[in-house]
């Protein structure tokens, strides 16, 4: 299963050094992101804008670009990246499979179905509930869809012990949700098609302070809570029976982890659409560098995901400025070949030395 060749003597980083390094990297990427865009600013100017905001200085145009447009977007990219990568690491531990992804529990497909349903059928709904229109309506529908699909997967999957049934229920619910998306796409008119294509490619373009304030908690709370389950996740890598023998309660841990991941990933997908590869790539790469211990892997994945998505979003809005590349396309375009390189760089992939 683990087809990436490893050195005979595995290297291990000291956790404070590893996390400190990643935090520095994140600060550097954030700084770069704040100073680049359709209107490039010097790095010092971006810092000055932050200083102006902190000491109550009167804000000028450049300050506003940094503080009102770029800063919320950078923070959103950090949060969403952290959520996707940390969620991926948790799912890989829970399913004991390095290829697992938060999508396995149905949250992404459910959110996509919710969003597309709102885009295509929302016109009718908006006449009844005027508050639920436009992009916030789509976000609410996506969040609700993600949670509903996950709840359904969990209800079906827990009928038998073990994660295998859960995994199969997730596959089935994913397929049904994607069929629903297909059906709605078929029913959609030209404008709706354009909207739903754009949504499904993912974008951080709609980030502002208001949206950030709404989704910060459902993303931050699980991110802060998950590292507390690190030891149990480590034991779970040995199998549910071994985890039980070590004094953990997999039957309680499983629903907790699924709920936390569904909450934060549901919120992330609702805000930005589906952004692939972050949840797979970041934990995989970090495991390769520092081993599978979740006490380091979970916080490191959160920081690494934040770095990756902030960097990718900065590229997305600068390479074809003033237009923007969809970020989902960019992460897959960069992540895919990198992942292949990881897989293929060893002389005999799949063979254990």
């Amino acid at each position: 299963m683990n087809s990436i060749a490893l050195p005979r003597h595995a290297a291990r980083a000291r956790p404070p050094l590893a996390l400190g390094g990643l935090a520095l990297l994140l600060a550097a990427v954030a700084w770069w992101s704040l100073s680049s865009g359709a209107m490039p600013l010097s790095a010092g100017r971006a810092l000055a804008a932050l200083a102006h905001a902190l000491d109550g200085h009167v804000l000028d145009g450049d300050d506003r670009v940094v503080l009102m447009l770029r800063l919320p977007r950078v923070l959103m990219a950090m949060l969403v990246g952290a959520v996707l990568a940390c969620g991926g690491a948790v799912m890989q531990g829970l399913f004991r499979n390095p290829l697992a992804d938060p999508g396995l529990i149905g949250v992404s497909a459910g959110a996509a179905l919710g969003a597309v349903a709102m885009i295509v059928l929302g016109g009718a709904l908006a006449r009844v509930l005027p508050g639920l229109s436009g992009t916030s309506g789509v976000a609410v529908a996506a969040f609700a869809g993600g949670l509903l699909a996950t709840a359904l997967v969990y209800r079906l999957g827990r009928r038998r012990p073990g994660v295998a049934t859960l995994l199969l229920a997730g596959v089935a619910i994913n397929a049904i949700a994607m069929a629903g998306v297909g059906l709605l796409t078929f029913l959609a008119n030209e404008n709706q098609l354009r909207d739903l294509t754009f949504w499904s490619l993912g974008s951080l373009g709609a980030s502002d302070w208001h949206r950030l304030a709404v989704v910060a908690w459902p993303m931050l709370l699980p991110l802060l809570a998950l590292p507390r389950t690190a030891r149990a996740l480590n034991a779970l890598l040995l199998g549910e029976r071994e985890a039980t023998l070590l004094g953990f309660r997999p039957d309680r841990l499983q629903p907790l982890l699924i709920a936390l991941v569904a909450l934060m990933v549901g919120a992330a997908v609702a805000m930005t659409g589906v952004i692939g590869f972050v949840g797979l790539l970041v934990p995989h790469l970090l495991r390769l560098c520092w081993g599978p211990d979740h006490r380091l892997l979970l916080p490191a994945s959160a920081l690494g995901g934040a770095v990756l998505l902030t960097g990718a979003d900065t590229l997305a809005r600068t390479v074809v400025a003033p237009a923007e590349l969809p970020i989902g396309v960019l992460t897959a375009l960069l992540g895919g070949p990198f992942f292949l390189w990881l897989l293929l760089r060893s002389p005999a992939p799949g063979l254990r030395p």
């Binding site: 683990n2 005979r8 003597h9 030891r231 040995l238 039980t244 070590l246 004094g247 211990d293």
Partner: protein, 273 residues
């Protein structure tokens, strides 16, 4: 009911055993265990023997507390396993399972350190490191401690799992540590089979309670202090290897005529008649 439970606890202080009383276990529509009563004592190596499907691993699972009996109860120090907190129980008994599918690239010493999970503390202490070191040496894998677990052979991985299990109950200090081994000899070469059983025997001499499911009756005869012979979910015989492994009983239980062959000086081997 309450009086009985209270009586059991008062008695618990003196009762130093891992036992099952009147245990039935249904798995699906199959009776895996029927009315099994068995008491294991500290300082002895108890072997569970019997043909395939006799209920040996089921009984070990009930003794470990991972399988809940349909009727009857399993007790540690006279107290039902279900009434122990999972972590307190985990500090007292460890089990080497037949097959541990670990697909993540932990280092060998990290795998052994997982055995320290029930001992509180989120970061490993000096004590934990010392215990893991001792467990790695006891399982003959200390020289592999910095290697990637996935790069080891099957037999080496099994010894690493033994080290993890030993680390779990090493110096537990809260009572007799119990070690349950499910076919510890499976997949090992003859030297390591004997190494594994000698280690189990040595631990029993040091005061551990050791219960092992064993298929090789000659290993049972050589190393076990007591044998519980199971057939079709029932306990057929319980006693010393000399008593419990009577050729007439074994021949019937296994459906294969067996006889004892004396080996020069001491003991005997079982061979088809």
């Amino acid at each position: 009911m309450n009086a009985a439970a209270a009586g059991g606890e008062a008695w618990g202080g003196r009762d130093d055993s891992l036992a099952v009383r009147g245990v039935d276990l249904r798995r699906g529509d199959r009776h895996a265990l029927k009315a099994v009563t068995l008491r294991a004592r500290p300082g002895r190596l108890l072997a569970l023997a019997g043909p395939n499907g006799a209920g040996k691993s089921s009984l070990l699972g009930v003794l470990a507390g991972v399988l809940a009996p349909t009727r009857g109860e399993a007790t540690l120090d006279g107290r039902a396993l279900a009434r122990w907190s999972p972590t307190a129980l985990a500090r007292r008994r460890a089990m080497l399972s037949q097959d541990v599918g670990l697909d993540f690239a932990f280092r060998v010493d990290e795998v052994a350190m997982l055995g320290r999970s029930p001992h509180g503390r989120s970061q490993a202490s000096v004590d934990d490191r010392r215990v893991v070191d001792a467990a790695l040496r006891a399982a003959h894998v200390w020289h592999l401690r910095e290697r990637d677990y996935l790069a080891l052979s099957g037999g080496e991985q099994r010894r690493v799992q033994l080290a993890r299990v030993l680390a779990q109950v090493w110096e537990c200090g809260e009572g007799t540590p119990w070690l349950l081994l499910d076919e510890p000899e499976a997949g090992l070469d003859i030297a390591h089979q004997h190494f594994m059983l000698r280690r189990a025997r040595l631990l029993a001499c040091q005061g551990f309670g050791v219960i092992a499911v064993l298929h090789d009756l000659n290993l049972v005869a050589r190393y076990a202090d007591e044998v519980a012979l199971l057939a079709q979910g029932r306990l057929v015989r319980h006693g010393s290897p000399d008593e419990a492994l009577a050729p007439a009983v074994l021949s019937e239980v296994y459906g294969l005529p067996l006889r004892r062959v004396a080996i020069d000086g001491e003991g005997w081997l079982l061979a088809p008649a």
